[in-house]
């Protein structure tokens, strides 16, 4: 037992934590005749003061009726008899102590005792679990992730009660020391991806990691590609099926978005609705989505090619109206389409962050009035406006925001290629796109590859009770996830 006065201990701790941190110290006396000096240290704002008052101060200051013996067992005695909150005893590791205090725990110091008693009092105000704003669903649950790591992990744990669920905690960022959790199911996960991921996270050496987006970029394997490599989502009912398929979820403290990796190309076109609606309706809607992707990329280029290079391929009934609408237009077709596209992108970017009342005015002014005025001033032709309008509407059909931006941006190079080379340009654009997509790989999993069994849930979705095996492209282990249980239904046969 080292004899050390309580004041000197308090001073050591305050110096280590940094003098400008809002630290609160309360000196207490434990026991009666003689009373022993003790002190609690916590950081204001990170703790739940109710727990401190009720579970620490009340029993220690008032509840101890006789004196406490100071020996090596004192901390255990106090923890098991008087302190009703959860507490741990740390013997030598001062770094751990400081970390715990910064996380919102309270430190109880007793004079002349070397042990540090850490009591769990994390609290502070955090956002309630609420409707995820960016990804609404008609029939799914209304939970969304929040900024606190523990709450997020609890949301996942409530849905996966498998005993093989592993949660690893890591820390990133030298100065921010943000907590990170990796969640996966031990006997399903793709182990190479897991090792790769751990290696990369441990290698990240930056000052601070503030959001999931910057973290994503740090561990990204193809940073220059336009396509997103990891799926980020706000809904627990999207993360849970991904984990069940062998993927790894990465949760960052302070961000309500959770990453699931490794991801494949078709995953970005699936929504939660797809698994909550009936099979046939879902397949029609998925077909619509892929059709709209094709439309967004090719429609302006095809229109430009038909007008500029291959007039004889326009259907004969359309020719007269199209040419009529283009009489007297001052711009060349390419400039027309380009200007309209850029205008639409500016409109969309501007309307993204405005308050909702102004956004409505913006859409009316921008879309209708400017479009109309452009037509009437003979800058653009009505047919071009129609084509661009269809393209914009089609681009709303891509469900994930990251992928939606990538697809929208793809139409510009395609437009330039079509302008210079016509049909050859469109085909070259598609070829380069396919080659680029085929060569992308993340964490050992190819981005766009189709195994025969995986096709049950890629472009169309087979009935849920038929999808018996996990996608083999993600992880090769433990393929079967359900059996043909429908064969056991008892049915009366009509004779």
């Amino acid at each position: 037992m080292k004899i050390e006065a309580i004041d000197s201990k308090i001073n050591t701790i305050i110096n280590a934590l940094g003098s400008s941190t809002p630290i609160k110290v309360k000196k207490i006396s434990l026991g009666k005749d003689p009373s022993i000096q003790g002190a609690i240290i916590y950081i204001d704002g990170l703790v739940d003061k109710n727990i401190i008052n009720r579970d620490i101060l009340n029993p220690l200051m008032i509840g101890i009726s006789n004196s406490i013996v100071l020996n090596s067992d004192t901390s255990n005695f106090l923890c098991s008899t008087y302190i009703t909150a959860d507490c741990t005893i740390i013997k030598d590791n001062t770094m751990d102590v400081y970390k715990n205090i910064k996380n919102g725990n309270t430190l109880l110091l007793i004079e002349n005792i070397e042990d540090y008693i850490i009591i769990d009092t994390t609290g502070g105000v955090i956002r309630q679990v609420s409707d995820p704003l960016n990804e609404t669903s008609l029939r799914g649950s209304r939970d969304g992730f929040v900024e606190n790591l523990e709450v997020n992990i609890s949301l996942l744990r409530r849905q996966i009660k498998d005993s093989n669920l592993c949660i690893e905690k890591l820390v990133v960022g030298r100065r921010s020391q943000t907590d990170l959790a990796i969640v996966y199911i031990k006997d399903l996960v793709n182990t190479e991806a897991l090792d790769d991921l751990r290696e990369r996270i441990n290698a990240v050496d930056v000052d601070s990691v503030t959001g999931i987006g910057s973290f994503q970029e740090f561990i990204d394997e193809n940073p220059y590609s336009i396509f997103p490599m990891c799926m980020s989502t706000e809904r627990p009912d999207r993360v849970t099926p991904s984990i069940m398929e062998g993927r790894i979820a990465v949760i960052l403290n302070g961000s309500p978005f959770v990453l699931t990796l490794p991801s494949v190309f078709v995953e970005f076109f699936h929504t939660v609705e797809d698994y909550n609606e009936r099979t046939i309706s879902v397949n029609i809607i998925r077909f619509l989505r892929f059709l709209s992707v094709l439309l967004v990329i090719t429609l302006p280029s095809v229109y430009l090619t038909l007008i500029k290079y291959n007039g004889e391929l326009i259907p004969v009934e359309f020719v007269v109206p199209v040419v009529q609408s283009r009489i007297g237009i001052s711009l060349s077709p390419f400039m027309e389409i380009l200007i309209l596209e850029i205008l639409m992108e500016i409109l969309r970017e501007g309307g993204l962050r405005l308050p909702s009342k102004i956004a409505q005015t913006l859409s009316i002014v921008g879309g209708i009035i400017i479009g109309n005025a452009a037509v009437q001033s003979n800058m653009v032709s009505p047919t071009t406006l129609l084509v661009i309008g269809i393209t914009i509407i089609a681009s709303f059909a891509v469900p994930t925001v990251d992928m939606s931006i990538s697809i929208r941006m793809l139409r510009f190079p395609m437009l330039f290629l079509a302008n210079s080379m016509g049909i050859m340009g469109i085909a070259t654009g598609y070829t380069l796109l396919i080659i680029h997509l085929s060569s992308l790989e993340n964490f050992g999993v190819p981005y766009m590859a189709f195994n025969k069994d995986d096709l049950k849930d890629s472009f169309t979705r087979a009935p849920l009770w038929k999808m018996n095996s996990r996608p083999s492209i993600i992880s090769d282990r433990n393929k079967k996830r359900q059996t043909n249980f429908r064969d056991k239904f008892r049915r009366r046969k009509n004779e």
Binding site: M421, I423, A427, I435, S438
Partner: protein
């Protein structure tokens, strides 16, 4: 990187084998065949499928004996380094020549159909550059690319069934009316367009399941023979044997009769699909020639891609005229086919007779560590 993911699966082998042979030059296949065999050209095409079948079966013998080596190493082991390398060089020149032929034929056909305004030089340049870029990426990427274009090819074949409404079976009758000698002569002509099956012998060490190689290769041969005979049959069915010989690209003529509501004729979509297929064929052939050169010399494969780029860029410039190109092709391809058949047969016989054990021990592990 997953060790297993560096190898290709058997379905990817299927796609790349089909992709290497069925290309844009198959649209001009009916002309040669029908000019000799008249309305039985499609029967000749089916018979001509014996040539790739033969290469597959003979290749099966080689693959069974040496599952981890490839034909370049085998020829070096059996014929000694110098003669083996010379034979490998001839082998490589063959693939390069096919690549040159496909580039110039695609450029000619595209400039004849919808892309009138791009001169030959620029068309060849873009084809060569994209092929080079694709073959730098490696075998896995090419296999996935070939997988996607296979579905596009199926789309064209399914779309051509619409012509059954406007054609008539009377154009194809009488069956066997042309006489068996004509049919056989036509089948020799069709066999020339089945070249490039030797790709199997270059890439088989990279396949995961060695036992399934032969089965996959046989299925791909079947699909290729079906595709080619379908093309010839539809052309004769639609145009009649008298009109087919007057056209340069009979199958494209057929595809134009398909009317979809939005575009005037199917030509637009068909052209886009044919261009993508042309890119795929040229990339695969270019990749094969770089691979062979890589095993002859020790330069890295990426550098070889850039070295060989001028060749496939400059030589097609001389074949701007379709007639000249067909003449050159008609003269050279019979020799190439003969060389292939004899080369592969001799190596197969040598593998049966002589046993080069050191080949298996020394080079057993090598292909997996090599960058594909």
């Amino acid at each position: 990187m997953n060790k297993k993911s560096m190898l290709i699966s058997s379905s990817e082998l299927f796609f790349i084998l089909v992709g290497c042979i069925v290309g844009i030059s198959s649209t001009s296949l009916p002309v040669d065949v029908v000019s000799i065999a008249k309305q039985d050209g499609w029967i000749s095409t089916i018979i001509g499928g014996i040539y790739p079948l033969y290469i597959v079966l003979i290749g099966g013998i080689i693959i069974k004996k040496y599952p981890n080596s490839n034909i370049m190493n085998l020829s070096k082991a059996y014929f000694g380094k110098i003669i083996g390398n010379i034979l490998n060089l001839l082998f490589m020149l063959q693939f390069l020549f096919y690549g040159v032929l496909v580039i110039s034929s695609s450029s000619n056909q595209l400039r004849a159909y919808s892309i009138y305004f791009i001169p030959h030089f620029k068309m060849v340049m873009i084809l060569a550059i994209v092929a080079c870029y694709a073959s730098i990426k490696g075998l896995k990427v090419l296999c996935r690319f070939a997988g996607i274009t296979f579905f596009l090819l199926c789309l064209i074949i399914v779309a051509s069934t619409v012509t059954f409404k406007s054609g008539s079976i009377l154009n194809v009758k009488p069956f066997f009316g042309a006489g068996v000698p004509n049919i056989l002569e036509g089948s020799i002509k069709s066999a020339f367009s089945y070249g490039n099956m030797e790709l199997l012998l270059i890439i088989y060490p990279y396949v995961q399941q060695k036992k399934a190689i032969l089965k996959t290769a046989l299925i791909s041969t079947l699909v290729i023979v079906f595709c080619y005979s379908w093309i010839v049959f539809t052309s004769i069915y639609f145009s009649g044997p008298d009109l087919v010989v007057k056209q340069l690209w009979p199958f494209s003529f057929v595809a134009e009769s398909f009317k979809i509501p939005v575009v005037n004729n199917f030509r637009f979509i068909e052209m886009v699909i044919w261009i993508i297929i042309a890119y795929k064929t040229v990339s695969i052939e270019f990749y094969a020639s770089t691979k062979i050169l890589n095993s002859i010399t020790k330069i890295k494969r990426k550098t070889i891609c850039f070295l060989l780029l001028p060749i496939i860029f400059i030589i097609p410039l001389f074949m701007e005229n379709e007639v000249i190109r067909r003449e050159i092709a008609g003269k050279v391809i019979p020799w190439i086919t003969l060389f292939n058949i004899s080369y592969v047969t001799i190596i197969a016989l040598l593998t049966l007779l002589i046993d080069k054990k050191k080949l298996i021990n020394k080079k057993g592990e090598k292909p997996i560590n090599e960058k594909i």
